[in-house]
């Protein structure tokens, strides 16, 4: 526990912010971790050895988040537009130690990054592991991993935290004001979030790895209200959230998209309600990313399939006996990938110290591989991990989290237009809306951010109140085409929750516009 003395010690003696900055600082192009980090890591590894741990790793992590937002809304009484800003920056620094003692895991974490506290917390982790071993049916087995000494960082040109705040606010103000230009738009908002994670990992198997992960998220929202009819509608633009430097921000095209959503939210307000029934769907990458996430990425997590998440996230309809069997149409090849450029789940090494890679999850509709960690690989007869171990903070336990999972593009000659031309009665869906799926990932329901009717092979006007509901294996079997590589886009999701206590993961899912036949469409409120 954190004693009163520890708390006061932390506030008085450690000079930890300066420590954090200096610890992670490095000469440009350095390929090895900082010597100071390695010294701190050694404290945990030595203490664990003393405590008879068969394995130990330590992560020392510094997280920074900067959030900037601007909301434009009417003042009560006058109707005058008020611009309400919010700017904040948070940082968090600490370490977590995992050990295996007597075949069982133990974990402890502290924000007081000193050699003495690292030794003490390592001891706590060992005590916890020993207690756990009393109810451990089988000892933990870790797949082999190479020892790495390396430094990796998100490829970037400009540090987003170094960009003046005024430039960020100007960008958001301009976009939000564009959204609000139409007087029928009730409210507009624009936001930008920046995240950086300095992470050092050392393990008793010889690895010493320092990483810097940078992420940028943006959003633009418009709301319209019809008080007479008692309805309100929204329209959003979420540019691809990316692992990148500030040089990526102009590519978000906030200004151009502000004008688009301004007009679309007004059209959405008066858009006729959908006529429910079986329809063909054309799902854009900004929407299908979430359907892939929920119905393909989650059910191919091995810990779910084997019952380790049964109490909360659930299990999976894709059980190990389905390896080598068809679970989707031949148009569906899904890749697990923690290396794809700018994807949120892309890192050099996972939190097991495994070098990241690409692997096939579903190949032309046939289930091939689960997502795994070192602890899980042997459970499905694999010799090595697919590098999917991750914790969302220094204070949380690393466990199996999904990588970026993307759907391979179709043939080059398949275009958005050719997919639409093949639909007699259908709906094009853009952006994400409400989403829900059962604990084995069978029955799902998805809304969207905006909907267009497709009639006789042509895209028509907007419609509203749409959701579709289906059964995952039937849905992916109903996929009969996906557009070619020029249409492929990836979108990031930043709030993927799993585990108890819940941890949050950020990953990207890529795809091209994709067509599904005869899906059950619902009329919602």
């Amino acid at each position: 526990m954190l004693t009163r003395r520890d708390f006061l010690t932390a506030s008085a003696a450690t000079a930890s912010a300066a420590l954090a900055r200096n610890l992670f600082a490095a000469p440009k192009d350095s390929k090895t971790p900082s010597a100071d980090l390695e010294k701190l890591g050694d404290v945990a590894l030595r203490e664990a050895k003393k405590r008879k741990a068969s394995y130990c790793d330590i992560r020392i992590v510094r997280l920074r988040d900067q959030r900037i937002g601007l909301r434009l809304s009417p003042e009560r009484g006058t109707g005058k537009t008020l611009a309400v800003p919010s700017v904040s920056e948070d940082s968090s620094f600490g370490f977590g130690v995992r050990v295996i003692v007597d075949g069982a895991w133990g974990f402890a974490a502290s924000p007081v990054v000193t050699p003495a506290e690292i030794a003490r917390i390592t001891g706590e982790a060992a005590v916890i592991a020993r207690a756990n071993a009393s109810i451990q049916p089988k000892p933990v087995v870790l797949a082999p991993v190479k020892a790495y000494r390396d430094r990796w960082q998100t490829p970037h040109d400009k540090d987003p935290f170094a960009i003046p705040m005024a430039e960020k606010l100007d960008l958001l103000r301009s976009a939000a004001e564009d959204v609000k230009k139409n007087p029928r738009v009730f409210g507009g908002a624009a936001g930008l979030s920046l995240r950086s994670e300095d992470k050092y990992f050392a393990s008793s198997e010889g690895s010493s790895i320092q990483q810097l992960i940078l992420q940028i998220y943006g959003n633009l929202d418009a709301t319209a209200v019809d008080r007479e009819k008692g309805i309100s509608r929204s329209r959003s633009y979420e540019p691809t959230q990316a692992s990148a430097g500030w040089e990526y921000v102009p590519e978000m095209n906030l200004g151009e998209n502000a004008a688009r959503i301004r007009e679309e939210v007004v059209e959405h307000l008066s858009a006729p309600a959908v006529k429910p029934g079986k329809k063909d769907l054309l799902l854009m990458p900004s929407h299908l990313c979430l359907t892939i996430h929920e119905s393909v990425a989650h059910p191919t997590e091995l810990d779910r399939a084997l019952g380790y998440e049964a109490n909360y996230a659930g299990t999976s309809y894709i059980t190990p006996d389905k390896i080598g069997k068809r679970i989707a149409s031949e148009h569906c090849t899904f890749i697990g990938d923690r290396t794809s450029p700018r994807a949120l789940g892309t890192v050099g090494y996972d939190d097991d110290g495994v070098k990241t890679s690409q692997f096939t999850i579903i190949g032309e509709g046939i289930f091939r591989n689960y997502q795994t960690t070192r602890e899980q690989a042997h459970l499905v007869g694999d010799k090595e991990s697919h590098g999917c171990c991750q914790a969302d903070s220094w204070a949380t336990v690393p466990f199996q989290r999904m990588p970026n999972v993307w759907l391979k593009a179709g043939p080059r000659e398949t275009t958005l237009e050719s997919l639409i031309a093949g639909i007699d009665d259908g709906i094009l869906i853009d952006g994400t809306g409400n989403y829900s799926i059962d604990q084995q990932r069978y029955n799902f329901q998805f809304g969207g951010d905006a909907f267009w009717e497709i009639k006789g092979g042509k895209k028509r006007g907007m419609i509203s109140r749409v959701a579709y509901q289906g059964r995952t294996p039937d849905f992916w079997q109903a996929c009969d085409g996906t557009a070619g590589p020029p249409y492929w886009r990836q979108f990031g999701l930043t709030g993927d929750a799993k585990g108890e206590p819940t941890q949050i993961n950020s990953i990207s899912h890529g795809c091209a516009p994709t067509r599904f036949r005869q899906i059950n469409v619902l009329l919602t409120d």
Binding site: S11, R76, G94, A131, P137, Y312, G314, Y442, D525
Partner: protein, 456 residues
């Protein structure tokens, strides 16, 4: 953990670094210990310690915020400076109100020393109890037991200071058949770890798992339902944000009147529906202050079926000439509801009958254990979708007769409460998605279950 005096000294130190007329400091320190189990063994266990200092600096309506967990003087001074730098380049906030003056916060009774200090010796026996019960019936148990101790302190340059020391705990378990053919769940949140009844939780989840084997396919449609307290709480708590006076007056909630105005004072629900907040209710104490740093006190939102109050935070109260409500989340510039997020007080009054009485009152309907993956479909009507989970049973002529397959639902808690016929006793519940409240079992008619789920 941080004492009141230490928190006050730390807050004063931070405020001492401030050069702006306004500065607000929020200090949090927490310690959490938990053990997870699955497949009849412990999978992970953790002890984690965290602390954070959040600083909000304001000058001439311009505000900047920082958070830091480095507690040395240099880091705290740098964090205050950073907040002031952010404020200086931020545009003035036209909805900003002056800092809250010193307040007298109520004393809470939500700290239990044994819970706050508990470690493996206090928690592992509960895990052993559940796993032993599952093994005895050739079942497989998964679950979580956790306890937390959290200190929160707030201060600003007007002399305001508040300190809150709270502990909490919970245990949940899912017990399944080894072949995955059935599943049962039970959970208990408790301010005192000593009150966790793991034997009862194991018996409930195990029995439910045995009874739910071979669930039958029942046609989708509208059913009379008996919602167990966790299931009722899963939905009712989602009404919170709709009570925002601002959102309602702006035409964006179910309490907005068509053409303008609100439904405040109108009777929308049956006489026996009362929904309120009471931070002193021992079943679920909450924060002594609102999000606006005003003292909390008891308040009714729905009183005997009538919409009794909307949430006015300081900003919207000032705009409309009202008093801020003492139970609102506040701080959202009028956008907040009454829920306080996960730690707030929300109580739906119960009725006289037991769960068995409710079941006996139903001629044909369904008993639902709890819900999963609940998401809003329409923020205005509060229509939600989600799925039943871990035990659904057909009730015929007042008796449970047949296990049935899971359903997806598509319904608003507003319609649910309008269609409610009868209530059971209210208990504290915590849904799978973390929301807590005190909720009763209830019987409601016409609950839409439009599709079947194969999930077990």
């Amino acid at each position: 953990m941080l004492t009141r005096d230490e928190a006050q000294k730390l807050a004063q130190k931070v405020l001492g670094f401030s050069t702006f007329p306004e500065c607000q400091v929020t200090i949090t320190a927490s310690e959490q210990a938990y053990t997870r189990f699955a497949n009849n063994g412990i999978t992970t266990a953790s002890l984690n310690l965290r602390h954070n200092v959040a600083i909000v600096a304001t000058r001439e309506g311009r505000t900047g915020a920082t958070g830091v967990n480095d507690l040395d003087d240099a880091s705290l001074a740098a964090a205050v400076k950073k907040a002031e730098e952010l404020a200086a380049i931020s545009p003035p906030d036209p909805e900003r109100l002056p800092a809250v003056s010193p307040q007298k916060y109520p004393a809470m009774s939500d700290y239990d020393e044994r819970t706050a200090m508990a470690r493996a010796p206090e928690m592992i026996p509960h895990v052993k109890t559940v796993i032993a019960a599952a093994i005895q019936r050739k079942q497989v148990a998964a679950g979580l037991i956790e306890r937390s101790h959290r200190v929160t302190a707030v201060a600003n340059k007007t002399g305001l200071f508040g300190y809150h020391d709270a502990s909490d705990s919970q245990m949940t378990t899912t017990i399944r058949m080894p072949d995955g053919s059935s599943s049962g769940w039970a959970g208990q949140p408790s301010m005192r770890l000593a009150d966790i009844d793991s034997a009862r939780l194991a018996a409930t989840a195990s029995e439910k798992c045995l009874r739910w084997r071979n669930p039958q396919r029942l046609d989708p449609g509208n059913y009379t339902v008996v919602l167990e307290p966790t299931a009722a709480g899963d939905l009712v708590r989602l009404m919170a944000n709709a009570f925002s006076a601002r959102n309602t007056e702006e035409g964006r909630t179910f309490l907005s009147k068509r053409g303008g105005g609100t439904l405040l004072g109108e009777k929308l629900f049956p006489d026996f529906v009362t929904l309120r907040s009471d931070p002193f209710d021992p079943r679920q104490p909450s924060s002594p202050w609102t999000g606006d740093l005003l003292p909390t006190s008891a308040i009714a939102w729905i009183d005997k079926g009538v919409v009794a109050n909307l949430v006015y935070d300081r900003y919207w109260a000032a705009k409309t000439g009202k008093q801020p409500t003492p139970g609102g989340a506040g701080g959202g510039r009028g956008g907040g509801g009454f829920g306080f997020g996960g730690g707030g007080s929300l109580i739906m009054e119960g009725g006289e009958g037991t769960l068995d009485d409710l079941i006996a009152s139903v001629d044909r309907g369904l008993l639902i254990t709890h819900f999963w993956y609940i998401r809003g479909v329409n923020p205005q009507t509060l229509q939600q979708t989600g799925l039943t989970r871990d035990g659904v049973f057909l009730i015929e002529k007042g008796k449970i007769t047949t296990p049935v397959m899971n359903f997806r639902f598509l319904e608003s808690p507003v319609r649910l409460l309008k269609n409610t016929q009868r209530l059971g006793p209210a208990v504290r519940v915590r849904g799978l998605e973390g929301g807590m409240m005190v909720a009763p079992a209830l019987v409601a008619t016409d609950f839409p279950l439009p599709s079947i789920s194969d999930a077990v």
